[in-house]
């Protein structure tokens, strides 16, 4: 289970003078629960796109252990992401017309034609674990809270080393959001995965161990969560 380290990472967008992201150094130890907050446009999404290998920085190193994502081609980064990263997004991105179970199994199906029966059993167990009672139900008929829980099950199916969640509770009510936040932390701990959460949700931040604050593409605060409440309030 590798650590994440960023070195001299810069990302600029055409037409913008200031870099969208400028991180001289960042180290996240394996198994850390990290919250990333900041106003919109601060570079949070840019940061996650980089650490899951969806985009590459203009310069710098983004290393998971010995693997430098900044130096890998698109195909290698796809393979890395499929093997090591579980992703939960604000809008769930479940696929209508498929059952909850088929949605959970979808990422596995991209890589092999024949599905390992053990994987299917694991998907069913995970759905039960996240509290989705009817795995064969079409996903569009579920409640929003259930949908995000299906997405969480999908993210951990392939035993990722890192779980990345982009505003996982932002489109849920407080109760459903709490349930999803609890599941993310519990599953990350059970799978021994690093958990990186981009969020505005103070209650979700409170469940994390470390709190990173980005403003204008720079890290302005990086504190343990025990003292993060005050920092979060200061930022607002």
């Amino acid at each position: 289970m590798p650590d994440l380290s960023l070195e001299a990472v810069r990302v600029s967008f055409p037409g913008l003078a200031a870099p969208a992201l400028d991180i001289p150094a960042l180290h996240v130890a394996a198994g850390t629960r990290l919250a990333v907050t900041g106003p919109s446009g601060a570079g949070k999404t840019t940061l996650i796109n980089l650490i899951v290998g969806l985009t590459r920085p203009d310069s710098g190193r983004i290393a998971w252990g010995e693997t430098d994502l900044a130096s890998l081609g698109e195909g290698r980064r796809d393979r890395f992401r499929a093997a090591h990263v579980g992703l939960v997004m604000q809008n769930f991105h479940l696929f209508a017309g498929l059952s909850a179970l088929d949605n959970v199994l979808l990422p596995a199906r991209f890589w092999s034609l024949r599905l390992d029966p053990a994987l299917k059993a694991r998907a069913l167990a995970l759905l039960e674990r996240v509290g989705v009672r009817r795995p064969r139900q079409k996903v569009e008929t579920l409640s929003r809270g259930e949908m995000q829980r299906v997405a969480v099950a999908r993210a951990v199916l392939m035993r990722p080393d890192v779980l990345v969640a982009d505003e996982p509770t932002a489109s849920l009510d407080a109760e459903a959001g709490d349930a999803v936040a609890g599941l993310l932390c519990a599953l990350a701990r059970e799978q021994h995965a690093t958990l990186i959460v981009v969020t505005h949700d103070a209650r979700l931040v409170a469940r994390m161990a470390r709190h990173l604050t980005l403003v204008d593409g720079r890290i302005v605060a990086d504190v343990p969560v025990a003292r993060a409440d005050g920092a979060a309030e200061a930022a607002q």
Binding site: I48, N49, L54, E74, F95, R109, F110, M158
Partner: protein, 415 residues
Amino acid sequence: MIPLGFILADLRRLWLGALAIVLLIALATALGMAVQLQERALRLGSARAADRFDIVVGAAGSETQLVLSAVFLQAAPLPLMDGSVLKALAEDPRVAYAAPVGFGDSFEGQPIVGTIAAFAREAGGGALSEGQVFDALDEAVVGARVPLALGGVIKPMHGLPGEGGHTHSEIAYRVVGRMAPTGTPWDRAILVPIEAVWRLHGMGDAHAWPRRVEGEAEHAHGLGGDSDHLGSPWPQATPGVPAVIVKARTIADAYRLRAQYRKPPTLAVFPAEVLVRLYGTLGDARLLLGGIALGAQALVIVAVMLVSAVHLAQRRAQIAALRALGAPRRAIFALVWSEVMALVGAGAMLGAGLGFLAARMVATQLTRQSGIVLPVEFAPEDLVFLALLLGVAALAAMVPAVMAYRQPATIGLSA
């Protein structure tokens, strides 16, 4: 790679657009298919219709018109040929039979053809399906599709089918026999003794019209000697005929006869050779129609590509999400390509069926009008056509697939 269930769910979700694309492709395919099937049916049908006609001899003029009129009974005036030709042919030892065909009258849109009794049997495939051949001037044998029963009465109308004209009041034919169906224009013909046609038009000996009134005892003998005699041997002063259909005894005889009568003032043709030339023309028309159909298909394929490109823009978020979830780029390519191909494939299959139905409907209509049975059937070249269409579509589907493949994937696009 991309699970089938995902593609199906996707197409189900977008069913309205998918249906529109399938129908568009189906219609374009049907157009091309129908042209191809119809042309082949026309070729097969006309070749079969000309099968029984060895040599057609007529007055010098257009070979094509001679065949169209004598074999396909197309209504058009032919120049008359001197009656001595008929007499000479009938008495030629190389000839099995020489049947005159004389036109000029019709009955309710069906051509009345003057000929000899032997040909009435021959034109119907060698046997009658009911009744007997004509044996008197006022008897007629009808084709299989003529809506008259035995004993029915035919009052000839002067003029070819479709032309206006006066009704001949001098004679009414009585149906005495019906030919077996042949799938040729002769199924719609009414065959009567050529002598009756001659007389009706005042040709040959201007005898009084023989009366055959029931109960009139004198009818058999009271009509003036040999005027009741039908068919060969022909008299010295045989009236002119537009065409003679000749059956030779051997193939060598057929070639010799054709050579002998090719010189003016007569014309002798094998219907097949004329048909081959006609198919050449038909082929040109088919090429044109086929070109139009192909153009329609090309337009449809371009339209499909355009629609997929626009549609793809709306699916950027879905595709980005799939990539974020770990789908490799080739899976995205496969997804878009398979969806386009599924629609094109379904459209092509549906189009082949629709084209077949359309060709069948046109063929049925043509059969009703001309009597020529047109066999609409699939042939290996139709598969080649479909394979070509799918091949082009497979290439064209790469365009949106490559666009999807190259689309940068990032999360956060979705909001």
